[in-house]
């Protein structure tokens, strides 16, 4: 983990929080969507807040994919959950909304969770051991996995062969 990788994680956090709040704001202006009026979804996308929200969520997606390319899912998700804390802090100090004691407790719990996961390794070792980048031209399983399976199959059939021989004798 270097500075650039922490910046990517920060990008995931900030873009998600900003995108979600803009979507939420825009959807409140658009009003209810029902199953019988699916056109409502299209009008929702035309709302500028929803549109900017979607652009920010695209930026979030690019950062999120980048993070997942070198870190575990169970590392990236808790590490980027500080976005919820960010939203609550913006609500309190920018929008001057009331933040209840229970919400502050929630903020403390999330921050604690982030601290826990950040102290550990970011990638499960067997992932790091796989030479994934070099063997996935076609997007299939890494070659290491395929070759690891082959001896197992061969061993199975070897074990199976004597059994057939034994039953044949009987």
């Amino acid at each position: 983990m270097n500075v650039r990788k922490y910046l990517v994680l920060a990008g995931v956090t900030v873009f998600a929080a900003a995108g979600d709040s803009m979507l939420s704001h825009g959807m409140k202006q658009t009003g209810s969507i029902s199953v019988h009026h699916l056109r409502g979804v299209i009008f929702a996308v035309l709302n500028p807040w929803v549109a900017v929200g979607i652009l920010l969520l695209l930026a979030f997606f690019a950062a999120y994919m980048t993070a997942l390319s070198w870190a575990d899912l169970t590392y990236v998700l808790p590490a980027t959950s500080l976005g919820y804390v960010l939203l609550a802090l913006v609500a309190r100090f920018v929008l001057h909304e009331h933040v209840s004691p229970l919400r502050w407790l929630g903020i403390v719990l999330i921050t604690g969770g982030v601290g826990f996961v950040a102290g550990g390794p970011s990638l499960t070792e067997h992932h790091a051991a796989l030479p994934h980048a070099e063997h996935t031209e076609d997007g299939n399983e890494p070659l290491a996995v395929a070759t690891a399976k082959a001896p197992l199959l061969a061993k199975d059939t070897r074990n199976g062969a004597p059994q057939v021989g034994v039953t044949g004798k009987l």
Partner: protein, 126 residues
């Protein structure tokens, strides 16, 4: 009745998000370190290899399902219920799914982290 709609939509979000996250995580592990690949072969290679990955395409489809479920849920229920409930349950679902399907080492540290974050996110609803 509106509560039933809202919770059905929340469960749909959670299921689709977990499926999507697991597929996307698998896809990006197959693509490899994006930064290193970009420096070595350029952005076009990064985009091409990612877009050509079947897991990525299925993952994005699942995420689109989750996104539209979210839009429906938000139109039926309060954002203060929908967002924390869906996010909180997704954290737990992802920890379980990452362990089973991605073979990630979800040790005690990561369980505690996922549980604390899920609890904290749920509390932010209050």
């Amino acid at each position: 009745m509106k509560a039933v709609y809202t919770w059905s939509a929340i469960l749909a979000i959670v299921f689709a998000s977990v499926v999507g996250d697991v597929l996307l995580a698998r896809a990006m592990k197959q693509v490899g370190d994006v930064g290193a690949l970009w420096r070595r072969a350029g952005l076009g290679m990064v985009v091409g290899r990612t877009m050509g990955n079947p897991n990525f395409l299925f993952g994005v489809t699942a995420m689109a399902v989750a996104f539209f479920s979210l839009l429906f849920a938000l139109s039926w229920g309060d954002v203060s219920l929908v967002a924390p409930a869906a996010a909180s349950l997704t954290f737990i679902g992802n920890a379980v799914a990452a362990r089973i399907f991605l073979h990630e080492k979800v040790d005690r540290r990561r369980w505690i982290a996922a549980s604390l974050v899920a609890a904290g996110v749920a509390l932010l609803a209050g």
